[in-house]
Structures are given as C-alpha cells and as structure tokens.
C-alpha cells in the first residue's frame, strides 16, 4: 500500500509545475503565516533572553519591601549599611561584605531613527564592588569612570539605539554636565544602561540612600539565611530575591502581551491559510481528476490516492513554512529594537529566531497542510471513476 501511495505521489508531484498557480498559493500562504508567527515570537524570545541573561542565581537583589521595580525602591543610608552586615552575604578576601549599593536614576536620550522623541534611559550609580559582582561586564572602549567625577560609561545597547552618548560626548542631567568616557558590554539588560559613581549620582540628584543592594550569596543556604535575618530585623522592611528571579519577573508582562498577540494573529492567519489551502487542493484534485480516475480504473485503491493528495499538500505546506521561517530569519534575526521596561526606561534587545521557534513554525505549517489536504483527498478518493474519465 505504501508503495502505491509513493508511486502515485511521485506522479502527482512531478506534475506540480503544470498546476503552479494553486500550488504557489499554498506555498506563499503558509510562508506568510509562519513568517509572521516566527517574527512575533522572535521578538518575545529576544526580549526574554536578554532579561533572563541578566541576573544570576548566586546573587541576591535587595529592594525596599513592596516595590516591584528598582525604580520604585528607595531606602536610606542607614538601611543600606545595615543590610550589608546581615548574614548570608559572602565576604571578600578582606572580610568586607561582597555587596554593592546602587542608585537608579533616569536620563533622557534621543533615538537614532526618530529625532523628535526622547526616551528614558536608566542611569545606575554604583560602588566599586558592582564590577566584581558582574564579571561578564567588560569595558570594550575608552575607560571606566573615575570616582568623584561626573563621568559615565555607556552600555553598547544604548549606543546601538540612541544618539548623543558616544565617547567624548556630554550628557546633561539635572542641570549638570556628564562626560561619556567609555563603552561597556555585558550581554544582558545592563547594556541598556549608563553607569556612574553612586556618590556623584547621590549629590547631583539630591538623594542620600540607594535604590537597591546587590550582594553575593554565601553558600547554598545564603539566600535563606539572609531572608530570615531581614524578616527578623524590625528596622528593615526589605524584599530579598535572587537577582535572576527579579529579572525573569520583569519580563512576564511583555511575554504575556506578545504571546497573546502572536496567538491571535497566528490563529486568524492560520485559518485564512487553511481556507486558501483547501481551495487550492480542491483545484489540484480537480486538475488531477482525469489522472486520478485513470489510476483508480487501473486498479489503485482509494487509500493510496488519499495519501498521495495529502502528501502533496504536506510537501507544499512544508515548503511554504520553510520559506516563511527563512524570510523571518533573514529579515528579523538580530534586529535591534528597544521598548519600555518595567521602570519606564528603555530595554534594548535583539530579535532571536531560534531553532525551536523554526520547529514550531514548521509544525504549524504541517497542521495547516494536513487540514487543507484532508477533505480534497477524500473527495479525490470518492470521485466517480467513469464521470472523471469522461470529463474534458
């Protein structure tokens, strides 16, 4: 039976060029669905992986209790010093706690492609320990800022999307002028930030405390110990979490929104593609009518005929799906864009077309191909043989 199916399919496939119009419709229709699906989810995947890459499991992020974003968090100097002393935090070689107090403030830069609108960029004031805690962050051009001076180092994501922050340029914040002295790259969300000395940031922005404290955890139970200690301390109302958990949480809203959008668009487009595929396959069956009837008159059974039609539909659908995935990859992979993050500042990320995404797109193509091929295939098997032979 399989041999029969293959033989008939081969016959049918060889004659596809004669029916190029309906075949093309299926290929292009499916390319469209898969391309759009892949592009939308590549956006979500890119955003998610940028934020996921940020944050490690052996670092704890400490925010003021109840704030859900670094921007909303603020605690005073005393609390900052206090929390650094708590158990659970690893110590450096010199016995001092491996922790960095950080202050988040906001600057405005102009986009590269749209000069009229400004966008908010995160400026992070850091202590020297911040660099040790983030070994993946490397200065790739210029030099690091000097403590006590109004100097900035800028993440490569910022330089990709916005202008006015190149090395040597002056950025104005709160009526004061800051010089950009270097560019850094860390392969995560920090690439969307500008860094400076926390004390200079404090005096310029009139703040005395910090937004957050990043601390290295001491051992596998470090987080638990830190959490218990903080809960027990009445003077501290803090939330302690793994740095990675914080950043994963930040992506939830975006992921949900894009996921929903992608689902709705793909379903509607998919339905449209199913109808187009059905239409085309009916046309294909009609075009092959005489050939199919002859085969059946010769003695080929119904099932191999059905199978051959389905195989033709599937091949066309897969071709379309592959074309769509390729288009999405060529047009969108590594495209750099930015959007509003949780703190109303920009997060720069790249579209990412992953193998899993391509696989999912192809599966969708297969499903549509099968639905589009089934009913026409059944009709092909049930066509009255003599009528089809007589037809012109």
């Amino acid at each position: 039976m399989l041999n029969q199916a293959i033989a008939i399919s081969a016959l049918g496939i060889r004659s596809i060029p004669e029916r190029w119009a309906p075949s093309l419709v299926i290929v292009i229709g499916l390319a469209g669905v898969v391309a759009v699906f892949t592009a939308l989810l590549a956006m979500a995947t890119g955003f998610e992986s940028t934020l996921k890459a940020t944050g490690r499991t052996d670092l704890a992020l400490i925010l003021r209790g109840g704030s859900d974003a670094e921007l909303n968090s603020a605690f005073d100097r005393d609390s900052t010093d206090l929390i650094k002393q708590e158990p659970g935090i690893a110590a450096a070689a010199d016995g001092k706690p491996l922790a960095s107090a950080e202050l988040m403030v906001i600057a405005e830069l102009v986009r590269k492609d749209d000069v009229k609108s400004g966008a908010n960029i995160t400026v992070r004031g850091v202590e020297p320990a911040a660099f040790g805690l983030r070994p993946q962050l490397k200065i790739i051009a210029g030099r690091n800022f000097r403590p006590g001076l109004r100097e900035l180092i800028v993440g490569s994501g910022v330089l990709r999307q916005f202008q006015g922050a190149e090395i040597g340029k002056i950025v104005r914040m709160r009526g004061s002028e800051w010089t950009v002295v270097g560019e850094f790259s860390s392969g995560d969300a920090h690439d969307s930030e500008m860094w400076t000395d926390i004390n200079v940031a404090r005096t310029t922005f009139g703040r005395s405390g910090s937004s957050s404290v990043l601390a290295a955890l001491d051992g596998p139970d470090g987080l638990q110990r830190l959490k218990s200690a903080v809960a027990a301390e009445p003077r501290l109302s803090m939330d302690v979490m793994r740095e990675q958990d914080y950043f994963s949480g930040q992506t939830k809203q975006f992921r949900k929104t894009i996921g929903f959008l992608a689902a709705v668009v793909t379903i509607i487009m998919g339905l449209g593609a199913v109808f187009a595929a059905l239409n085309s396959m009916y046309a294909v069956v009609a075009a092959r009518g005489k050939e199919i009837a002859t085969l059946r008159a010769i003695g080929f059974r119904g099932l191999p005929v059905v199978t051959s039609v389905m195989i033709e539909a599937l091949l066309l659908a897969l071709a379309g799906g592959a074309l769509g995935a390729l288009l999405a990859y060529l047009l969108f992979n590594n495209l750099s864009v930015s959007t509003l993050g949780q703190s109303f500042t920009q997060v720069v990320f790249n579209f990412k077309v992953t193998p899993q995404l391509v696989a999912r797109g192809l599966i969708i193509a297969i499903i549509i191909g099968m639905i589009g091929g089934l009913m026409p295939a059944l009709r092909a098997a049930r066509l009255p043989v003599s009528a089809s032979l007589r037809e012109q």
Partner: protein
C-alpha cells in the same frame, strides 16, 4: 434580473471555491480590523484633548519629582491662566491591579480640567475631605465603587507613616466626561496632595510629577513652552514642556513603533490574500472565456465585459471585507466590555473608513488583470476555442 444579479450569479458559479475564497477574505479583514484598532489606540494622538493645556515635567524623566513651589512662578507667566499639578501615587487595587491614580490639589485640578463632569457638591467634598478621593465613572463602575464607601488602595511606592503600604480613602465623588471621547478616559482616580504630604512615610512633601498649565489662548502654546523651559534651564529642576497631545504621543512612542509592527503584519496578510483571491478570479475568468465572448456577440461592449469582471471581484471582496470588519467590531466590542473599557478595541469610524479603502484597492488589484483579459478577448478566437 439585472446586471448586478448577473454578477452575483456568476460569483457563485463554483460554490465551494467562492465560499472558501470568501472565508479567506473574511479572515484577512478580521485581522485588519483588530490590528488597526490596536494601532489607533496607541497612535491616535488623542486630538480630542484639545490644545489648551501644556504638560511640564522634569526634563530628565516624568518619574523625577519637581517642587510644588514652582507654581507661583509658572502662574506668573503671561499666557498661563491657571496651574494644576499631579503626582503619581502608584496605586494598586486589591492584589495586583495597577490604578492610574494621582495626588493633586482638588480646586486647581477642577479649574484646569473643565471636561470632567461632576456635581459641585462633590468637588467641594473632595476639597474638604482630607482622606477623600474621586474616581472616574469607568473605574468606579468596573470595581463597583459607590460614593460614601471607604476604598482600600495600596501604593507600591509610598508607605504610610506606620510602615504599611495600605491606604484607605473616602470616595466622595465620581466624575464623567463631557462627551464620548472624554467619557472613554474616565479611568483615573485622585487623592488630596495635602493628605499625601502629611501621611507618607518618606516625608516627601511638596513634590509633584507634572504641572498642568491651562493657557489663556491656545495660540500661545509655543511661546509659553519656551518661557517655562527657559526659566528653569541649568537649574536642578530643569523642565520639559510640551502640549498635552504631544506628551501622550511621546509616551506611546517609548513603547515602540507599534504602527510599524502592525503594518508589517498587515502587509504579509494582504499580500497573501492578493495571491489567493487573484488566483480565484483569474481561474474563474479563464473558465468563462466562451461565455464572455457570447456576451460580446449579444452586443455588450468590451468595456461592459471588463465592468462585469471588476464588479465580480468587487462583490467578492466587499462581501468578505464587510463581514470581516463586522466580526472585528464584535470581537473588539466584546474585549472592551470584558476589560471594563481598559482596551478600547471597538472599531471606530477611522478603521471602517480605512477598511473600505482597502476593500476598493484589493478589488482592483485582484480584478484588474482578469478584467483586462476579458476586455481584450476577440469574439471569433474565443468562440473557436483559441
């Protein structure tokens, strides 16, 4: 029978084919309607806000606070009729529903926003009641708030002096909008600035996020903008002033170029649709060459025959397009109702208009070539099967 009757009869000559093509058209326009609505929500520019108000924020970011003490300086500027201010409260309803809620001076706010409709008694109650709050009708309806209730709202930024994030307010007024557009925006709430200053744990006093300047004359917008920003340049409280409309637009722009995404998707959709329907129309005309030749023998001109084919393409796309847009309307209205007005996805006039334009253009695109073929065909050759 009429010419249109003839066109429609021909449309359904192969019923399955026509219906499947129609369904593809419906899906395309369903998506068009929904996506364009989304696009409109983000990019409408909100013309209806009018040009009578300017928004002043800290140059660096609207999340950065400005001192309320700036008010007299702002009010002294020629062209400024009145100044109000609002500070983001970070309000959260129940566990995790964020609210658009500001601390404000009730009297000033009332003066600057005449578009809100609320009985005077309620405005006065708001001004009088320290712990009072007012809410927009949409918001109140969504959560079932009634005047006189004590509404528990927490802030994810500001705890009270006792350390608790939970605040409680007396709902003393519910405001509506003066017309359709303003009614749609009644999803805000306000509390008293004085109470906020007094009760927050950080001792944050006399700070605000936005000043709202009501102009004496909209034409003065540019001049006033320049004056304000010039006044505070190089100070620690540098400002950025823009019209209310521009502020709304720039906020959306920060999210990203939604318009671009929507355009790309719709491009892919309509390109594919063009192919599908174009193929159907081309096939349909090809099968009918002899019939079209007979029409010419009967005396229908070449132009008439072209007209028949174009009309057929138009009828197909029109029917599918209208059904698709209607489905989008229904779906959009359902979403709007379901989210209590949060996502105003119901299709408005502009989307329908754009949809009709798309219908006409698509009809031409799919019908023109087959129609020209029909017009060109020579009777004698066609009848002889050449």
């Amino acid at each position: 029978m009429t010419r249109s009757g003839f066109v429609v009869a021909n449309l359904f000559r192969k019923r399955t084919r026509t219906i499947l093509t129609l369904l593809s058209v419906i899906m395309a326009f369903l998506l068009f309607g929904l996506l364009q609505s989304v696009n409109t929500i983000f990019n409408a520019g909100a013309d209806f806000v009018g040009a009578t108000r300017l928004f002043v924020q800290a140059r660096v970011s609207f999340t950065s606070p400005l001192p309320v003490s700036m008010v007299p300086k702002l009010e002294a500027i020629p062209g400024v009729a009145r100044v109000a201010y609002q500070q983001w409260f970070g309000g959260v309803w129940q566990e995790n529903t964020p609210l658009i809620m500001f601390a404000t001076d009730p009297q000033r706010y009332h003066d600057v926003y005449p578009e809100w409709v609320m009985p005077d008694a309620e405005w006065q109650a708001f001004a009088r009641t320290r712990t009072g709050m007012i809410a927009g009708k949409q918001l109140a309806d969504q959560y079932g708030w009634k005047i006189g209730q004590k509404i528990p709202i927490s802030s994810n930024i500001y705890p009270q002096k006792n350390g608790s994030k939970a605040w409680v307010f007396d709902l003393v007024g519910i405001f509506d909008g003066k017309d359709e557009d303003w009614k749609k925006r009644t999803n805000l709430a306000f509390l008293q600035q004085d109470y906020f200053d007094e009760a927050n744990q950080f001792g944050v006093k006399g700070r605000t996020n936005f000043f709202i300047l009501k102009l004496t004359d909209p034409a003065k917008a540019q001049a006033v903008t320049k004056t304000v920003d010039g006044m505070f340049e190089n100070s620690p409280d540098e400002t950025k002033t823009q019209t209310e409309k521009d502020f709304n637009i720039s906020f959306v722009k920060q999210i990203g170029d939604i318009g671009l995404i929507v355009r790309w998707i719709l491009f892919a959709v309509f390109f594919t649709l063009l192919l599908v329907v174009g193929n159907t129309m081309a096939q349909s005309v090809r099968e009918r060459i002899p019939e079209l030749a007979v029409l010419k023998t009967l005396g229908f001109s070449d132009g008439s025959v072209l007209g028949f084919v174009l009309a057929e393409a138009f009828a197909l796309v029109l029917l599918g397009g209208l059904i698709g847009l209607t489905l989008a309307s229904i779906a959009g209205a359902m979403v709007e109702k379901g989210t209590g007005g949060q996502f105003q996805l119901a299709l408005d006039g502009s989307v329908w208009l754009l949809g009709v334009v798309a219908i006409v253009l698509m009809s031409l695109a799919v019908g023109l070539l087959p129609a020209l073929r029909a017009r060109r065909l020579r009777i004698v050759d066609a009848l002889a099967g050449r």
